[in-house]
């Protein structure tokens, strides 16, 4: 797609922006889906699975829009499925934090919390952006995201301000994944909104919840990045091979 000179630069950016949003939701959803039937307790198993389904639903909306944009710009026949199942690692534009292994429950809920707070702020901005379709998808999805923030915040507080063991696990989780949050706020040429502008609000919310959870926000840590440009950790390839194996082995297979 990048090499095709016929697509205007602005359309190309629009497609990449939409794919970034789609990939981020899909990959985090795919990761979280590993918890299905393995949650710490039945009710929380259902809770994380619901969140997973919300994310995959968001991904579908974004992919459908991306497919329309691509097909309008080029003589192609992309679908939500072809975009999810038939692209390679370097074409995925999701945040690195989404593709990281789940770790333990503390790490999973911490990631959900850090991401969902970001996603809510992002959707607030997207609702006001001048791309009507992205604005509509954001308006629909933000209701789900608000619940993800509430649910994950309470877990962060519960574990952080819980027992010595649960607190230790939260601290280990922070050490493990904090460095992947910097990428949320690194501007990219395809960003339709100014992502740097939401950093202070994000940090404010994280501080508020961490304070209640008796946890501290790391300072001056090295930040990892690359996902938005298709440079990934070693984990994405394995995730994709598992997620895509069916479509690649039986092309066009249907439910």
């Amino acid at each position: 797609m990048d090499s095709n000179q016929q697509i205007s630069k602005s359309t190309n950016l629009q497609i990449n922006q939409t794919l970034h949003l789609a990939d981020t939701a899909l990959i985090l959803g795919q990761r979280n889906s590993d918890w299905c039937a393995h949650g710490p307790i039945l009710e929380q198993d259902i809770a994380i699975t619901n969140i997973t389904l919300d994310l995959i639903g968001q991904a579908r909306n974004f992919y459908q829009y991306a497919a329309t944009l691509i097909n309008n710009a080029e003589n192609k026949n992309e679908t939500e499925d072809s975009l999810a199942y038939l692209r390679n690692e370097r074409e995925f534009k999701n945040f690195l934090i989404c593709e990281l292994p789940n770790g333990n429950w503390a790490q999973t809920i911490l990631r959900q919390f850090l991401f969902s707070v970001y996603q809510e702020l992002l959707f607030e901005k997207l609702i006001a952006c001048n791309d009507q379709q992205l604005s509509a998808i954001a308006a629909k999805s933000i209701k789900e995201t608000k619940y993800h923030v509430k649910w994950s915040s309470e877990w962060v507080i519960r574990l952080g301000d819980g027992t010595e063991e649960s607190k230790t696990k939260m601290e280990q989780a922070i050490d493990e994944i904090w460095m992947y949050t910097g990428e949320f706020f690194i501007a990219n040429d395809y960003d339709i909104i100014d992502v740097t502008s939401i950093k202070s609000k994000w940090l404010e919310k994280i501080n508020e919840i961490f304070e209640e959870a008796t946890l501290s926000v790391p300072e001056n840590t090295f930040m990892q990045s690359g996902g938005k440009n298709g440079i990934h950790t070693e984990y994405l390839g394995f995730l994709l091979s598992e997620m895509q194996v069916l479509q690649r082995t039986y092309p066009g297979a249907n439910w």
Partner: protein, 121 residues
């Protein structure tokens, strides 16, 4: 020889447990108390018992109920009551409780005509 004690409770009549109590039936399996969930499906209707679930506190019980019992648009409002606060009638009392009413059909309000204007009766 080990003496295994099995305690049976009537539905809802679960005693308060202390952590040291060795015959606490829940502590080994699940440390979280049981909650009864009531869902109101529409404005103006009553909350109906939907089922029960485990949760650490009331807030979590309501959120778990949201995830477990309202995923398919079943509800607009949730009540959660810890199961130990529900007291149940004893099944052994069924005969004296319920059977005397079986031959008293005159207690049903079906022996007079309602005007058409009266709805929802």
């Amino acid at each position: 020889m080990m003496n295994i004690q099995i305690k049976k409770f009537y539905y809802g009549d679960i005693p308060d447990s202390s952590p040291s109590s060795s015959n606490d039936v829940r502590s080994t399996e699940n440390p979280w108390p049981l909650w009864e969930i009531f869902i109101r499906s529409k404005q103006g209707l009553d909350h109906k018992h939907a089922g029960s679930l485990h949760a650490a506190d009331a807030q979590m019980a309501i959120e778990n109920a949201r995830d477990v019992y309202t995923r398919r648009q079943e509800g607009l409002s949730i009540w959660a009551v810890e199961s130990k606060f529900i007291h149940a009638s004893n099944p052994d009392d069924a005969e004296m409780f319920y059977e005397p009413s079986t031959d008293k059909v005159y207690r049903h309000p079906t022996f007079y005509d309602l005007p058409d204007e009266v709805k929802h009766m």
